[in-house]
Subunit: 479 residues, 2 copies
């Protein structure tokens, strides 16, 4: 395996200076200060602006070189036309203190513009940093978030993230912001570990971040948004090594010819290569998500659900239509087998469920009917997961008046505890449909650490990915 580069300066900097800190609340150089504070950065935070001034009582330094304390990270929010003078300041700091390890260049206006001067500014910054032994993230990126070390160099609004096992690397700052904002949104905020936006990749690359995340113990699952990558072989190597250690879920765009042309003018990635990428993903066991919601649900599922021991999934539904809808999705993807449970389990299900429930018609499917009580939801879930033929379950319900969502959530939580007490730890995903009337139920499940997505398709896709990934790791014959 490729040893990861030392990116501790990026994720755990001892001292951070924000170059281009701004007193104007509408400027990135202001929001970054706020985000670092909200993230609870425990190190020394220095604000730098040649014009001086202060933010929330903190006096600004007029140069990097002036700062007495340790500065391992410089967040570069300097407008591109001022690159030369800021680079001179950085040189002086490094001569005097020699402590800067990374420059996180959130400023834009560099090579991505296609203009000659942008290219020149980028070259000046990157070549100087190289001489000084400093790594560069970006330019034209939104930076880095690490909930573990309290770092947030982005100027994304509303990034007060819960800690968790999901790390994400993005070739697009906007897609990164879209995801981070969705994941931070209450009440279903997603536990999050690290986020890196790579921007122009003038130095630190997608692959280097993937290698780092492979060895990062607190990262349990890795997500990536990509448009294209020049060193295809290196990417395949990194994905292969990463995917052997932890699950990787990729959203790759530019699948269509027209989309690929748009991608080429965005990040310069090669057109027509989508099939090649898709082949690599399959070969190395990377899971490819097709929508942002599928990506989010799948990352969450990998982070929260136990590994299934087989491919056999049981669909328990209180409502015929949503059950068939979800079964179509699961069957279409072909990642799961529909569970064949024992005769005893069938009898137990018939016993547990309302008289007119439809049990195992077809296999791995039970329509509990709208007559199912909250208790019957919990008992049925317990029954199918207690069967050796049931490796995972999807539970769908459209709570009716006489069986409120909160009551169903409570019984699902109890069933979960009973299963755990019996030493049974299998993945299941409940979906409560829909609208405002199920919000309290979903929140109760989320509070108990049970993911409860709002859309059956996201639950079905996520379970399919989790089942397929672990099946491959076990080396099941059909892979």
């Amino acid at each position: 395996m490729r040893a990861p580069g030392n990116l501790d300066g990026l994720f755990r900097p001892r001292g951070c200076a924000i170059l281009g800190a701004s007193t104007d609340p509408n400027k990135a150089g202001h929001q970054i200060v706020r985000n670092m504070k909200t993230a609870g950065y425990p190190g020394e935070l220095y604000l730098v602006n040649p014009r001086g001034g202060h933010i929330d009582g903190t006096e600004m330094h007029r140069s990097l070189a002036d700062i007495e304390g340790n500065v391992e990270m410089v967040v570069w929010a300097v407008p591109a036309p001022f690159t030369a003078s800021a680079v001179a300041d950085l040189q002086q700091r490094q001569r005097r203190h020699g402590d800067v390890r990374i420059v996180v260049t959130v400023a834009a206006g560099f090579a991505e513009t296609g203009a000659e001067e942008g290219r020149r500014w980028q070259d000046l910054l990157v070549s100087t940093c190289k001489q000084l032994g400093i790594r560069v993230l970006g330019p034209n990126c939104v930076g880095v978030i690490d909930t573990g070390s309290g770092v947030d160099t982005t100027f994304i609004m509303g990034t007060d993230l819960q800690p968790g096992g999901i790390s994400f690397v993005s070739q697009s700052g906007a897609v990164g912001a879209w995801l981070v904002e969705s994941w931070a949104a209450r009440p279903y905020s997603v536990g999050f570990n690290k986020f890196v936006s790579v921007g122009n990749m003038a130095d630190v690359s997608l692959v280097e971040i993937l290698d780092y995340l492979r060895e990062d113990e607190s990262t349990r699952v890795v997500g990536m948004y990509m448009e294209g990558y020049e060193q295809g072989r290196e990417m395949a190597r990194a994905l292969d090594e990463l995917s052997r250690v932890k699950p990787v879920v990729v959203l790759k765009v530019g699948e269509s010819e027209h989309g690929a042309r748009a991608a080429r003018s965005h990040t310069g990635s090669m057109a027509g290569a989508d099939r090649v990428y898709d082949g690599v993903f399959r070969q190395v066991g990377v899971r490819r998500a097709r929508t942002v919601d599928e990506l989010s649900a799948t990352l969450l599922a990998f982070d929260q659900l136990p590994a299934p021991r087989g491919r056999n999934l049981f669909v328990l539904t209180q409502a015929g239509g949503p059950g068939i809808y979800s079964t179509d999705i699961l069957a279409g993807d072909g990642e799961v087998e529909f569970a064949r449970v024992s005769a005893d389990t069938r009898a137990a299900l018939r016993d547990v469920l309302p008289p007119f429930a439809s049990v195992c018609k077809p296999e791995g499917h039970a329509d509990m009917t709208a007559a199912a009580s909250a208790v019957q939801h919990g008992r049925a879930l317990e029954t199918v997961l207690s069967d050796d033929g049931g490796d995972a379950a999807l539970l769908l319900t459209v709570p009716v008046l006489f069986v409120p969502a909160e009551a169903i959530a409570e019984e699902i939580i109890s069933a979960h505890h009973r299963l755990q007490a019996s030493g049974i730890d299998k993945p299941f995903v409940p979906v409560l449909l829909s609208g405002d009337v199920v919000e309290h139920g979903r929140a109760a499940l989320a509070g108990a650490g049970i993911m409860a997505p709002g859309r059956p398709e996201d639950a079905a896709k996520a379970l399919g990915h989790v089942i397929a990934y672990h099946s491959r790791r076990r080396g099941d014959a059909r892979e």
Copy 2:
């Protein structure tokens, strides 16, 4: 065309009796009373329960036959085992008053159970009604909603719907409830016209509702959820005639073999027929949605957007990634052409947009870049829709700190008004991404009557359906 049956008793009953009205707030027979009141039913509402009692001060009648006033609709919330005595009461009423035109049977426990006695109760109810000249909706349905006439016989919670042009007929009560609850959820509640759940279709059928909605002037677009229908020829005829008059969007499940088997045990629909249905949909111009969110967004788009004059769509994006993501979806579906705008329009776009914007690389695509101001969003939208080569537009933006969602929404609304003032009325859909930070902007757009879905894929799919439907109606060569 087939003349529609007279279903005025279903949608505009003069007098409504709720048989099985209940004092227990957890019973359907209680919630129905609430829903009729919330819907603002303007006629006389009679509550009937053999045991008497009262609900919110309204005295219950002990029988239908007792009621002095006019009763055109009976909502049947009587438990199935009490069918015989309730049928006797209905007979007596009809002998005395002869005014009942429809029985909406929300009670379950009939033929759908597969049990002999359920079948018998259903036969008794339906055959008696036939003799008495009374139509039956259901049994085992959730009833009917009509926002125009203030009828809501369902026991779905949270159905306080805004009036609009979308009508929906569902073969599954649960899918109906799922959709209605989603559409009612604030702040993006969807304007709604009629909802009919057909249940067991012992009398009133899916086809009869489709025929009715065809002639119903206040219905501008029809949605349908279906699993299968025995009289395939009749269904094809009804869909064909309906689709010639107004758009129809269908969510049909049971596409996979496993899903089809689940559908067969749910509504008895035939397996393996999905390809046949799909062929019929294509032949008669019915739009098929694959997800519930696609269905919702498409119905809303048909209701709210003007008809495009051609297939040429322009994608305007402030963020590279989301633009490529959406372009892939549009290109994959193949319903739209990417707009080729004139040299003048290109020059105007370059003039309007930030210096490093990427204009028409590829055709019908402009990446405005994150430097685009709110005003630039509005100007660019106006520019592409003012070109004769641009029939429709999709606008994507991930608002950044210095360009808040509210400001973008305001400029989109202004551009909309300027276009209208110039006599240009073309469909466009803005998508503001994402999370809590764009909620005010989305709400402002919704308030101005501009649909602003939360997911780019729903916007892209909806625009594709609208463009394809109107292209077929114009008789474009490629259809």
